[in-house]
Protein backbone atom coordinates (compact mmCIF):
# COMPACT_ATOMS: atom_id res chain seq x y z
CA UNK A 1 0.00 0.00 0.00
CA UNK A 2 1.56 3.29 -0.96
CA UNK A 3 1.98 6.37 1.20
CA UNK A 4 -0.74 8.45 -0.43
CA UNK A 5 -3.28 5.73 0.21
CA UNK A 6 -2.32 5.53 3.88
CA UNK A 7 -2.57 9.31 4.35
CA UNK A 8 -5.92 9.36 2.55
CA UNK A 9 -7.16 6.68 4.92
CA UNK A 10 -5.93 8.66 7.93
CA UNK A 11 -7.72 11.74 6.57
CA UNK A 12 -10.98 9.81 6.12
CA UNK A 13 -10.75 8.44 9.67
CA UNK A 14 -10.10 11.94 11.06
CA UNK A 15 -13.20 13.26 9.31
CA UNK A 16 -15.23 10.31 10.61
CA UNK A 17 -14.12 10.82 14.20
CA UNK A 18 -14.94 14.55 13.88
CA UNK A 19 -18.37 13.68 12.46
CA UNK A 20 -18.97 11.30 15.34
CA UNK A 21 -17.99 13.90 17.95
CA UNK A 22 -19.39 17.10 16.38
CA UNK A 23 -21.84 16.19 13.60
CA UNK A 24 -22.96 19.86 13.46
CA UNK A 25 -19.65 20.69 11.74
CA UNK A 26 -20.72 18.94 8.56
CA UNK A 27 -24.45 19.48 8.29
CA UNK A 28 -26.91 22.02 9.58
CA UNK A 29 -29.91 19.78 8.89
CA UNK A 30 -31.77 17.83 11.52
CA UNK A 31 -31.42 14.05 10.92
CA UNK A 32 -34.84 13.44 12.49
CA UNK A 33 -36.78 16.30 10.82
CA UNK A 34 -39.67 14.75 8.89
CA UNK A 35 -40.86 16.57 5.76
CA UNK A 36 -43.86 14.82 4.22
CA UNK A 37 -43.71 17.16 1.21
CA UNK A 38 -40.22 16.01 0.18
CA UNK A 39 -40.16 12.21 0.47
CA UNK A 40 -37.68 10.15 -1.61
CA UNK A 41 -36.23 13.19 -3.40
CA UNK A 42 -33.15 12.53 -5.55
CA UNK A 43 -29.90 14.35 -4.68
CA UNK A 44 -30.17 18.12 -5.17
CA UNK A 45 -28.65 21.36 -3.86
CA UNK A 46 -31.10 21.36 -0.94
CA UNK A 47 -30.52 17.68 -0.11
CA UNK A 48 -27.00 16.69 -1.17
CA UNK A 49 -27.66 12.95 -1.04
CA UNK A 50 -31.45 13.08 -1.43
CA UNK A 51 -34.15 12.31 1.14
CA UNK A 52 -35.65 9.13 2.62
CA UNK A 53 -39.23 7.87 2.82
CA UNK A 54 -40.04 10.43 5.54
CA UNK A 55 -38.40 13.33 3.76
CA UNK A 56 -35.41 13.27 6.11
CA UNK A 57 -32.05 14.41 4.71
CA UNK A 58 -29.95 11.32 3.88
CA UNK A 59 -26.64 13.22 4.20
CA UNK A 60 -27.58 14.53 7.64
CA UNK A 61 -28.60 11.04 8.72
CA UNK A 62 -25.31 9.57 7.50
CA UNK A 63 -23.31 12.26 9.33
CA UNK A 64 -25.30 11.83 12.54
CA UNK A 65 -25.19 8.05 12.14
CA UNK A 66 -21.37 8.05 12.27
CA UNK A 67 -21.37 8.02 16.08
CA UNK A 68 -23.59 4.94 16.44
CA UNK A 69 -21.78 3.09 13.65
CA UNK A 70 -18.26 3.80 14.91
CA UNK A 71 -19.40 2.97 18.43
CA UNK A 72 -20.51 -0.45 17.18
CA UNK A 73 -17.08 -1.18 15.69
CA UNK A 74 -14.83 0.29 18.39
CA UNK A 75 -17.08 -0.71 21.29
CA UNK A 76 -17.29 -4.34 20.21
CA UNK A 77 -13.52 -4.62 19.80
CA UNK A 78 -13.00 -2.94 23.18
CA UNK A 79 -15.23 -5.57 24.80
CA UNK A 80 -13.39 -8.36 22.99
CA UNK A 81 -9.97 -6.89 23.87
CA UNK A 82 -10.67 -6.52 27.58
CA UNK A 83 -12.21 -9.94 28.15
CA UNK A 84 -10.22 -11.80 25.51
CA UNK A 85 -7.07 -10.06 26.72
CA UNK A 86 -7.59 -11.10 30.34
CA UNK A 87 -8.32 -14.69 29.34
CA UNK A 88 -5.36 -14.78 26.96
CA UNK A 89 -3.03 -13.34 29.59
CA UNK A 90 -4.24 -15.90 32.11
CA UNK A 91 -3.73 -18.70 29.59
CA UNK A 92 -0.28 -17.46 28.65
CA UNK A 93 0.94 -16.96 32.21
CA UNK A 94 -1.05 -19.55 34.15
CA UNK A 95 -0.27 -23.20 34.72
CA UNK A 96 -1.12 -25.99 32.29
CA UNK A 97 -4.62 -26.56 33.66
CA UNK A 98 -5.66 -22.91 33.39
CA UNK A 99 -4.17 -22.73 29.91
CA UNK A 100 -5.88 -25.91 28.74
CA UNK A 101 -9.29 -24.94 30.09
CA UNK A 102 -9.18 -21.50 28.47
CA UNK A 103 -7.87 -22.77 25.15
CA UNK A 104 -10.42 -25.62 24.88
CA UNK A 105 -13.17 -23.09 25.69
CA UNK A 106 -11.90 -20.87 22.90
CA UNK A 107 -11.90 -23.89 20.57
CA UNK A 108 -15.60 -24.25 21.28
CA UNK A 109 -16.17 -20.53 20.75
CA UNK A 110 -14.34 -20.61 17.43
CA UNK A 111 -16.70 -23.32 16.17
CA UNK A 112 -19.51 -20.77 15.94
CA UNK A 113 -19.60 -18.16 13.19
CA UNK A 114 -19.29 -14.66 14.66
CA UNK A 115 -22.70 -13.45 13.51
CA UNK A 116 -24.49 -16.57 14.79
CA UNK A 117 -22.91 -16.27 18.23
CA UNK A 118 -23.94 -12.61 18.27
CA UNK A 119 -27.51 -13.61 17.39
CA UNK A 120 -27.63 -15.94 20.41
CA UNK A 121 -26.62 -13.03 22.67
CA UNK A 122 -29.32 -10.85 21.05
CA UNK A 123 -31.96 -13.58 21.54
CA UNK A 124 -31.16 -13.71 25.23
CA UNK A 125 -30.44 -10.03 25.92
CA UNK A 126 -32.62 -8.31 23.29
CA UNK A 127 -31.70 -5.82 20.54
CA UNK A 128 -30.45 -2.22 20.66
CA UNK A 129 -27.08 -0.50 20.16
CA UNK A 130 -25.64 -1.49 23.55
CA UNK A 131 -26.57 -5.14 23.21
CA UNK A 132 -25.31 -5.24 19.61
CA UNK A 133 -21.91 -4.00 20.85
CA UNK A 134 -21.97 -6.62 23.59
CA UNK A 135 -23.03 -9.35 21.14
CA UNK A 136 -20.32 -8.68 18.56
CA UNK A 137 -17.78 -8.17 21.34
CA UNK A 138 -18.60 -11.50 22.98
CA UNK A 139 -18.45 -13.24 19.60
CA UNK A 140 -14.88 -11.94 19.17
CA UNK A 141 -13.57 -12.90 22.61
CA UNK A 142 -12.22 -16.37 21.60
CA UNK A 143 -10.02 -15.08 18.78
CA UNK A 144 -8.58 -12.26 20.92
CA UNK A 145 -7.93 -14.67 23.79
CA UNK A 146 -5.87 -16.81 21.38
CA UNK A 147 -4.03 -13.81 19.98
CA UNK A 148 -3.07 -12.43 23.41
CA UNK A 149 -2.04 -15.89 24.62
CA UNK A 150 0.27 -16.36 21.64
CA UNK A 151 1.82 -12.93 22.25
CA UNK A 152 2.21 -13.57 25.97
CA UNK A 153 3.90 -16.92 25.38
CA UNK A 154 6.34 -15.39 22.92
CA UNK A 155 7.25 -12.56 25.28
CA UNK A 156 7.41 -14.77 28.35
CA UNK A 157 10.25 -16.68 26.73
CA UNK A 158 12.03 -13.51 25.61
CA UNK A 159 15.44 -12.78 27.10
CA UNK A 160 14.48 -9.58 28.86
CA UNK A 161 11.63 -11.24 30.76
CA UNK A 162 13.84 -14.11 31.89
CA UNK A 163 16.42 -11.53 32.90
CA UNK A 164 13.83 -9.64 34.96
CA UNK A 165 12.90 -12.86 36.75
CA UNK A 166 16.56 -13.69 37.23
CA UNK A 167 17.10 -10.28 38.86
CA UNK A 168 14.55 -11.38 41.43
CA UNK A 169 11.74 -8.98 40.51
CA UNK A 170 8.35 -10.07 41.83
CA UNK A 171 6.06 -11.85 39.36
CA UNK A 172 3.20 -9.32 39.20
CA UNK A 173 5.69 -6.56 38.56
CA UNK A 174 7.33 -8.43 35.69
CA UNK A 175 3.90 -9.04 34.18
CA UNK A 176 2.74 -5.43 34.51
CA UNK A 177 5.99 -3.70 33.58
CA UNK A 178 7.46 -6.05 30.98
CA UNK A 179 5.02 -8.60 29.60
CA UNK A 180 1.85 -6.51 29.29
CA UNK A 181 3.26 -3.43 27.50
CA UNK A 182 5.05 -5.56 24.94
CA UNK A 183 2.06 -7.81 24.33
CA UNK A 184 -0.32 -4.88 23.95
CA UNK A 185 1.21 -3.22 20.90
CA UNK A 186 0.89 -5.99 18.29
CA UNK A 187 -2.54 -6.89 19.63
CA UNK A 188 -3.74 -3.30 19.32
CA UNK A 189 -2.50 -3.18 15.75
CA UNK A 190 -4.46 -6.30 14.81
CA UNK A 191 -7.44 -4.91 16.71
CA UNK A 192 -7.42 -1.88 14.41
CA UNK A 193 -8.21 -4.15 11.49
CA UNK A 194 -10.74 -5.94 13.69
CA UNK A 195 -12.67 -2.70 14.16
CA UNK A 196 -13.59 -2.82 10.48
CA UNK A 197 -15.03 -6.34 10.59
CA UNK A 198 -16.81 -5.59 13.87
CA UNK A 199 -18.38 -2.51 12.31
CA UNK A 200 -19.67 -4.59 9.40
CA UNK A 201 -21.01 -7.26 11.78
CA UNK A 202 -22.65 -4.61 13.97
CA UNK A 203 -24.32 -2.86 11.07
CA UNK A 204 -25.43 -6.29 9.81
CA UNK A 205 -27.29 -6.69 13.10
CA UNK A 206 -28.89 -3.27 12.56
CA UNK A 207 -29.72 -4.30 9.01
CA UNK A 208 -31.53 -7.36 10.36
CA UNK A 209 -33.49 -5.03 12.65
CA UNK A 210 -31.68 -6.21 15.80
CA UNK A 211 -29.17 -3.39 16.41
CA UNK A 212 -29.77 0.34 16.61
CA UNK A 213 -33.56 0.86 16.38
CA UNK A 214 -35.10 3.51 14.12
CA UNK A 215 -35.58 6.47 13.99
CA UNK A 216 -32.07 6.95 15.42
CA UNK A 217 -29.70 7.25 12.47
CA UNK A 218 -27.26 4.37 11.98
CA UNK A 219 -25.83 3.19 8.65
CA UNK A 220 -26.94 -0.44 8.89
CA UNK A 221 -30.46 0.39 9.98
CA UNK A 222 -30.74 3.05 7.24
CA UNK A 223 -29.96 0.32 4.70
CA UNK A 224 -32.54 -1.92 6.31
CA UNK A 225 -35.27 0.59 5.42
CA UNK A 226 -33.68 1.56 2.12
CA UNK A 227 -34.09 -2.06 1.02
CA UNK A 228 -37.83 -1.44 0.59
CA UNK A 229 -37.24 1.48 -1.78
CA UNK A 230 -34.54 0.09 -4.08
CA UNK A 231 -36.72 0.41 -7.17
CA UNK A 232 -37.52 4.09 -6.50
CA UNK A 233 -34.56 5.61 -4.66
CA UNK A 234 -31.09 4.38 -5.63
CA UNK A 235 -29.40 7.12 -3.55
CA UNK A 236 -31.02 5.87 -0.36
CA UNK A 237 -29.51 2.41 -0.66
CA UNK A 238 -26.18 3.59 -2.09
CA UNK A 239 -24.73 6.24 0.23
CA UNK A 240 -25.07 4.70 3.73
CA UNK A 241 -23.36 1.55 2.44
CA UNK A 242 -20.66 3.63 0.79
CA UNK A 243 -20.01 5.17 4.21
CA UNK A 244 -19.59 1.72 5.78
CA UNK A 245 -17.32 0.45 3.01
CA UNK A 246 -15.17 3.60 3.04
CA UNK A 247 -14.79 3.36 6.81
CA UNK A 248 -13.80 -0.31 6.69
CA UNK A 249 -11.30 0.27 3.88
CA UNK A 250 -9.69 3.18 5.75
CA UNK A 251 -9.45 1.25 9.01
CA UNK A 252 -7.94 -1.74 7.19
CA UNK A 253 -5.39 0.37 5.30
CA UNK A 254 -4.27 2.15 8.47
CA UNK A 255 -4.12 -1.15 10.36
CA UNK A 256 -2.03 -2.81 7.66
CA UNK A 257 0.33 0.18 7.51
CA UNK A 258 0.79 0.06 11.29
CA UNK A 259 1.53 -3.65 11.11
CA UNK A 260 4.11 -3.23 8.38
CA UNK A 261 5.76 -0.45 10.34
CA UNK A 262 5.91 -2.46 13.53
CA UNK A 263 7.51 -5.29 11.59
CA UNK A 264 10.14 -2.85 10.37
CA UNK A 265 8.96 -2.90 6.78
CA UNK A 266 7.50 -0.12 4.72
CA UNK A 267 4.85 -1.12 2.25
Amino acid sequence: MNRIGVWLAVAVLTVLVLAALVPGLFTGQDPLAVDSGATLQPPSAAHLLGTDENGRDVFARIVHGTRASLLLGFGAIAVALVFGGLLGLAAGLGNRIVENVIMRLSDVGMAFPELLLALVVITVAGGGTGNAILAIGVANIPSYARLVRAQTLAIRRAGYVEAAYALGLPGPRVILRHVLPNAVKPVLILATIGVGTALVAGSALSFLGLGTPPPEPEWGSMLSTARNFISRAWWYGLFPGLAITLTVISVTVVGRALRLRSEGRTG
Binding site: V108, P113, L116, G196, S203, I230, G241, T252
Partner: protein, 310 residues
Protein backbone atom coordinates in the same frame (compact mmCIF):
# COMPACT_ATOMS: atom_id res chain seq x y z
CA UNK B 1 -1.26 -46.73 11.03
CA UNK B 2 0.05 -43.32 12.01
CA UNK B 3 -2.51 -41.77 9.75
CA UNK B 4 -5.25 -43.68 11.57
CA UNK B 5 -4.07 -42.43 14.97
CA UNK B 6 -4.02 -38.91 13.58
CA UNK B 7 -7.59 -39.23 12.33
CA UNK B 8 -8.62 -40.77 15.63
CA UNK B 9 -7.28 -37.83 17.62
CA UNK B 10 -8.96 -35.41 15.26
CA UNK B 11 -12.29 -37.19 15.72
CA UNK B 12 -11.90 -37.01 19.46
CA UNK B 13 -11.09 -33.29 19.34
CA UNK B 14 -14.13 -32.69 17.15
CA UNK B 15 -16.36 -34.57 19.58
CA UNK B 16 -14.90 -32.47 22.38
CA UNK B 17 -15.85 -29.26 20.60
CA UNK B 18 -19.38 -30.55 20.00
CA UNK B 19 -19.72 -31.54 23.64
CA UNK B 20 -18.62 -28.01 24.60
CA UNK B 21 -21.10 -26.52 22.16
CA UNK B 22 -23.95 -28.63 23.57
CA UNK B 23 -22.96 -27.62 27.10
CA UNK B 24 -22.95 -23.97 26.07
CA UNK B 25 -26.48 -24.23 24.71
CA UNK B 26 -27.56 -25.86 27.98
CA UNK B 27 -26.05 -22.98 29.97
CA UNK B 28 -27.74 -20.41 27.72
CA UNK B 29 -31.17 -22.03 28.21
CA UNK B 30 -30.57 -22.38 31.93
CA UNK B 31 -29.40 -18.85 32.62
CA UNK B 32 -31.79 -17.01 30.35
CA UNK B 33 -34.15 -14.99 32.53
CA UNK B 34 -37.78 -16.04 32.34
CA UNK B 35 -39.56 -19.34 32.84
CA UNK B 36 -38.89 -21.86 30.05
CA UNK B 37 -42.21 -23.53 30.80
CA UNK B 38 -44.06 -20.28 30.01
CA UNK B 39 -42.11 -19.92 26.78
CA UNK B 40 -43.12 -23.44 25.76
CA UNK B 41 -46.78 -22.70 26.41
CA UNK B 42 -46.70 -19.62 24.22
CA UNK B 43 -44.84 -16.60 25.56
CA UNK B 44 -45.81 -13.91 28.02
CA UNK B 45 -49.30 -13.16 26.79
CA UNK B 46 -50.60 -16.71 26.96
CA UNK B 47 -51.48 -16.65 30.72
CA UNK B 48 -51.50 -20.43 31.24
CA UNK B 49 -53.01 -21.97 34.39
CA UNK B 50 -50.62 -23.29 37.07
CA UNK B 51 -51.74 -26.84 36.25
CA UNK B 52 -50.69 -26.49 32.63
CA UNK B 53 -47.32 -25.06 33.67
CA UNK B 54 -46.75 -27.91 36.10
CA UNK B 55 -47.63 -30.40 33.40
CA UNK B 56 -45.17 -28.79 30.95
CA UNK B 57 -42.44 -28.73 33.62
CA UNK B 58 -42.92 -32.42 34.27
CA UNK B 59 -43.03 -33.21 30.55
CA UNK B 60 -39.80 -31.32 29.80
CA UNK B 61 -38.13 -32.44 33.02
CA UNK B 62 -37.81 -28.85 34.23
CA UNK B 63 -38.62 -29.91 37.79
CA UNK B 64 -35.65 -32.25 38.05
CA UNK B 65 -32.20 -31.24 39.44
CA UNK B 66 -29.91 -29.45 36.99
CA UNK B 67 -27.49 -32.33 36.64
CA UNK B 68 -30.21 -34.71 35.44
CA UNK B 69 -31.45 -32.04 33.07
CA UNK B 70 -27.92 -31.59 31.72
CA UNK B 71 -27.42 -35.30 31.09
CA UNK B 72 -30.78 -35.65 29.37
CA UNK B 73 -30.02 -32.50 27.34
CA UNK B 74 -26.80 -34.09 26.05
CA UNK B 75 -28.58 -37.42 25.55
CA UNK B 76 -31.29 -35.84 23.42
CA UNK B 77 -28.83 -33.83 21.31
CA UNK B 78 -26.72 -36.95 20.75
CA UNK B 79 -29.86 -38.58 19.36
CA UNK B 80 -30.60 -35.68 17.05
CA UNK B 81 -33.40 -34.23 19.19
CA UNK B 82 -32.82 -30.46 19.40
CA UNK B 83 -36.10 -29.74 21.20
CA UNK B 84 -39.31 -28.08 20.03
CA UNK B 85 -39.56 -24.60 18.56
CA UNK B 86 -41.47 -22.25 20.89
CA UNK B 87 -43.02 -20.44 17.97
CA UNK B 88 -43.62 -23.10 15.31
CA UNK B 89 -44.47 -25.90 17.78
CA UNK B 90 -42.63 -28.36 15.53
CA UNK B 91 -39.34 -30.17 16.27
CA UNK B 92 -36.35 -27.89 15.68
CA UNK B 93 -34.69 -30.48 13.43
CA UNK B 94 -37.81 -30.60 11.25
CA UNK B 95 -37.99 -26.80 10.97
CA UNK B 96 -34.30 -26.64 10.01
CA UNK B 97 -34.56 -29.64 7.68
CA UNK B 98 -37.33 -28.00 5.66
CA UNK B 99 -35.09 -24.98 5.00
CA UNK B 100 -31.74 -26.73 4.62
CA UNK B 101 -31.80 -27.46 0.89
CA UNK B 102 -32.21 -23.79 -0.07
CA UNK B 103 -29.29 -22.71 2.13
CA UNK B 104 -27.01 -25.53 0.99
CA UNK B 105 -27.75 -24.59 -2.62
CA UNK B 106 -26.84 -20.95 -1.94
CA UNK B 107 -23.73 -21.76 0.12
CA UNK B 108 -22.33 -24.24 -2.40
CA UNK B 109 -22.95 -21.88 -5.32
CA UNK B 110 -21.28 -19.02 -3.43
CA UNK B 111 -18.34 -21.13 -2.26
CA UNK B 112 -17.61 -22.35 -5.80
CA UNK B 113 -17.99 -18.87 -7.30
CA UNK B 114 -15.79 -17.34 -4.61
CA UNK B 115 -13.10 -19.98 -4.98
CA UNK B 116 -13.13 -19.74 -8.76
CA UNK B 117 -12.81 -15.93 -8.72
CA UNK B 118 -10.05 -16.02 -6.10
CA UNK B 119 -8.00 -18.64 -7.96
CA UNK B 120 -8.48 -16.95 -11.33
CA UNK B 121 -7.46 -13.50 -10.08
CA UNK B 122 -4.54 -14.79 -8.05
CA UNK B 123 -3.19 -16.93 -10.91
CA UNK B 124 -3.48 -14.06 -13.36
CA UNK B 125 -1.92 -11.37 -11.18
CA UNK B 126 0.61 -13.00 -8.83
CA UNK B 127 4.10 -11.68 -9.41
CA UNK B 128 3.02 -9.44 -12.27
CA UNK B 129 3.79 -5.96 -11.11
CA UNK B 130 1.40 -4.00 -13.25
CA UNK B 131 -1.64 -6.11 -12.35
CA UNK B 132 -1.07 -6.93 -8.74
CA UNK B 133 -1.51 -3.34 -7.57
CA UNK B 134 -4.90 -3.13 -9.23
CA UNK B 135 -5.88 -6.58 -8.00
CA UNK B 136 -4.95 -5.74 -4.42
CA UNK B 137 -7.15 -2.64 -4.50
CA UNK B 138 -10.07 -4.65 -5.92
CA UNK B 139 -9.56 -7.32 -3.24
CA UNK B 140 -9.47 -4.70 -0.48
CA UNK B 141 -12.72 -3.14 -1.70
CA UNK B 142 -14.41 -6.54 -2.13
CA UNK B 143 -13.32 -7.72 1.31
CA UNK B 144 -14.46 -4.46 2.96
CA UNK B 145 -17.90 -4.35 1.36
CA UNK B 146 -20.68 -5.54 3.65
CA UNK B 147 -22.77 -8.31 2.10
CA UNK B 148 -26.06 -6.53 2.68
CA UNK B 149 -24.94 -3.39 0.89
CA UNK B 150 -23.38 -5.29 -1.99
CA UNK B 151 -26.74 -7.02 -2.41
CA UNK B 152 -28.59 -3.71 -2.51
CA UNK B 153 -26.19 -2.41 -5.15
CA UNK B 154 -26.53 -5.60 -7.22
CA UNK B 155 -30.33 -5.36 -6.96
CA UNK B 156 -30.30 -1.69 -7.94
CA UNK B 157 -28.22 -2.37 -11.03
CA UNK B 158 -29.30 -5.81 -12.26
CA UNK B 159 -32.88 -6.18 -11.05
CA UNK B 160 -34.31 -2.69 -11.08
CA UNK B 161 -31.90 -0.89 -13.43
CA UNK B 162 -31.19 -3.37 -16.23
CA UNK B 163 -34.10 -5.72 -15.31
CA UNK B 164 -31.91 -8.73 -16.08
CA UNK B 165 -32.44 -10.83 -12.97
CA UNK B 166 -35.27 -11.34 -10.45
CA UNK B 167 -35.05 -9.52 -7.10
CA UNK B 168 -36.46 -12.30 -4.91
CA UNK B 169 -35.95 -16.03 -4.54
CA UNK B 170 -37.99 -18.94 -5.84
CA UNK B 171 -37.56 -18.50 -9.59
CA UNK B 172 -35.07 -21.23 -10.31
CA UNK B 173 -31.50 -20.65 -11.41
CA UNK B 174 -31.96 -16.99 -12.33
CA UNK B 175 -32.89 -16.10 -8.75
CA UNK B 176 -29.77 -17.83 -7.44
CA UNK B 177 -27.30 -15.71 -9.44
CA UNK B 178 -27.45 -12.44 -7.49
CA UNK B 179 -27.56 -13.94 -3.98
CA UNK B 180 -24.67 -16.30 -4.78
CA UNK B 181 -22.62 -13.45 -6.27
CA UNK B 182 -23.44 -11.23 -3.29
CA UNK B 183 -22.22 -13.88 -0.88
CA UNK B 184 -19.21 -14.86 -3.01
CA UNK B 185 -17.56 -11.51 -3.77
CA UNK B 186 -16.43 -10.55 -0.23
CA UNK B 187 -15.15 -14.11 0.26
CA UNK B 188 -13.30 -13.97 -3.05
CA UNK B 189 -11.69 -10.71 -1.91
CA UNK B 190 -10.21 -12.23 1.24
CA UNK B 191 -9.26 -15.56 -0.35
CA UNK B 192 -7.78 -13.90 -3.42
CA UNK B 193 -5.53 -11.77 -1.24
CA UNK B 194 -4.27 -14.76 0.76
CA UNK B 195 -3.85 -16.92 -2.31
CA UNK B 196 -1.90 -14.30 -4.25
CA UNK B 197 0.56 -13.76 -1.39
CA UNK B 198 1.03 -17.53 -1.09
CA UNK B 199 1.52 -17.90 -4.85
CA UNK B 200 4.10 -15.13 -4.91
CA UNK B 201 6.03 -16.86 -2.16
CA UNK B 202 5.90 -20.22 -3.97
CA UNK B 203 6.95 -18.70 -7.29
CA UNK B 204 10.29 -17.77 -5.67
CA UNK B 205 11.00 -21.38 -4.71
CA UNK B 206 13.90 -23.26 -6.32
CA UNK B 207 11.66 -25.98 -7.76
CA UNK B 208 9.77 -23.34 -9.73
CA UNK B 209 13.02 -22.00 -11.13
CA UNK B 210 14.03 -25.51 -12.14
CA UNK B 211 10.63 -26.12 -13.74
CA UNK B 212 11.08 -22.94 -15.75
CA UNK B 213 14.62 -24.00 -16.65
CA UNK B 214 13.18 -27.20 -18.10
CA UNK B 215 11.37 -24.96 -20.55
CA UNK B 216 7.84 -25.13 -19.14
CA UNK B 217 5.63 -22.21 -20.02
CA UNK B 218 4.60 -19.71 -17.38
CA UNK B 219 0.98 -20.94 -17.43
CA UNK B 220 1.99 -24.56 -16.90
CA UNK B 221 4.34 -23.59 -14.06
CA UNK B 222 1.57 -21.66 -12.34
CA UNK B 223 -1.18 -24.23 -12.85
CA UNK B 224 0.68 -27.50 -12.38
CA UNK B 225 3.42 -26.62 -9.91
CA UNK B 226 2.70 -23.45 -7.96
CA UNK B 227 -1.07 -23.64 -7.40
CA UNK B 228 -1.03 -26.88 -5.40
CA UNK B 229 1.38 -25.41 -2.86
CA UNK B 230 -0.43 -22.10 -2.67
CA UNK B 231 -3.76 -23.78 -1.91
CA UNK B 232 -2.65 -24.87 1.58
CA UNK B 233 -3.33 -21.49 3.28
CA UNK B 234 -6.82 -21.47 1.72
CA UNK B 235 -7.54 -24.81 3.30
CA UNK B 236 -6.27 -23.47 6.64
CA UNK B 237 -8.88 -20.72 6.50
CA UNK B 238 -11.79 -23.15 6.76
CA UNK B 239 -13.13 -21.43 9.84
CA UNK B 240 -13.34 -18.18 7.93
CA UNK B 241 -15.05 -19.90 4.98
CA UNK B 242 -17.72 -21.62 7.03
CA UNK B 243 -18.34 -18.53 9.13
CA UNK B 244 -18.54 -16.20 6.14
CA UNK B 245 -20.93 -18.52 4.29
CA UNK B 246 -23.25 -19.19 7.21
CA UNK B 247 -23.19 -15.63 8.58
CA UNK B 248 -23.50 -14.26 5.07
CA UNK B 249 -26.45 -16.57 4.33
CA UNK B 250 -28.37 -14.98 7.21
CA UNK B 251 -28.01 -11.55 5.63
CA UNK B 252 -28.33 -12.63 1.99
CA UNK B 253 -31.48 -14.66 2.51
CA UNK B 254 -33.12 -11.77 4.36
CA UNK B 255 -32.13 -9.28 1.68
CA UNK B 256 -33.30 -11.38 -1.26
CA UNK B 257 -36.33 -12.77 0.62
CA UNK B 258 -35.08 -16.29 -0.07
CA UNK B 259 -36.11 -19.40 1.79
CA UNK B 260 -33.45 -20.85 4.03
CA UNK B 261 -31.98 -21.45 7.46
CA UNK B 262 -30.66 -17.89 7.68
CA UNK B 263 -34.09 -16.32 7.40
CA UNK B 264 -35.52 -18.95 9.72
CA UNK B 265 -32.86 -17.89 12.23
CA UNK B 266 -33.68 -14.18 11.97
CA UNK B 267 -37.37 -14.76 12.57
CA UNK B 268 -36.49 -17.06 15.48
CA UNK B 269 -34.29 -14.35 17.04
CA UNK B 270 -37.10 -11.82 16.66
CA UNK B 271 -39.58 -14.21 18.31
CA UNK B 272 -37.08 -15.08 21.09
CA UNK B 273 -37.48 -18.70 19.99
CA UNK B 274 -34.44 -19.96 21.90
CA UNK B 275 -34.55 -23.69 20.98
CA UNK B 276 -34.65 -22.89 17.28
CA UNK B 277 -31.79 -20.34 17.55
CA UNK B 278 -29.66 -22.76 19.53
CA UNK B 279 -30.51 -25.56 17.11
CA UNK B 280 -29.18 -23.56 14.17
CA UNK B 281 -26.08 -22.59 16.15
CA UNK B 282 -25.43 -26.20 17.15
CA UNK B 283 -25.85 -27.28 13.56
CA UNK B 284 -23.32 -24.68 12.42
CA UNK B 285 -20.84 -26.00 15.01
CA UNK B 286 -21.42 -29.50 13.66
CA UNK B 287 -20.77 -28.29 10.10
CA UNK B 288 -17.63 -26.53 11.28
CA UNK B 289 -16.31 -29.66 12.99
CA UNK B 290 -17.12 -31.90 10.02
CA UNK B 291 -15.55 -29.52 7.50
CA UNK B 292 -12.42 -29.23 9.65
CA UNK B 293 -12.18 -33.01 9.82
CA UNK B 294 -12.47 -33.16 6.05
CA UNK B 295 -9.77 -30.51 5.75
CA UNK B 296 -7.39 -32.48 7.94
CA UNK B 297 -7.86 -35.47 5.65
CA UNK B 298 -7.44 -33.22 2.62
CA UNK B 299 -4.13 -32.00 4.04
CA UNK B 300 -2.78 -35.53 3.92
CA UNK B 301 -3.70 -35.68 0.24
CA UNK B 302 -2.41 -32.21 -0.69
CA UNK B 303 0.81 -32.46 1.31
CA UNK B 304 2.02 -36.08 1.58
CA UNK B 305 4.91 -34.95 3.78
CA UNK B 306 2.40 -34.66 6.65
CA UNK B 307 1.76 -38.40 6.52
CA UNK B 308 5.16 -39.06 8.00
CA UNK B 309 4.83 -36.22 10.48
CA UNK B 310 1.43 -37.31 11.71
Amino acid sequence: MKTLTFIGWRLLAGLGVLWGAATLTFLVVHFTPGDPAEAVVGGEGAAPTPEVLAQVRAEYGLDRPWFEQYVSHLWRIAHGDFGTSYRLHTPVTQAIGEQAAATVELAVAAALTGLFLAVAIALATAGRRRWRGLASVVELVAASTPTFWLGIVLLTVFSFGLRLLPSTGGQGFASLVLPALCLALPIAGVLGHVLREALEEVLEEPFIVSARARGLSDTVVRLRHALRHALTPLVTMTGFWVGALLGGAVVTETLFTRQGIGRLLVSAVNAKDLPLVLGVVLLSALVYVLVNLLVDLLYLVIDPRLKEAA
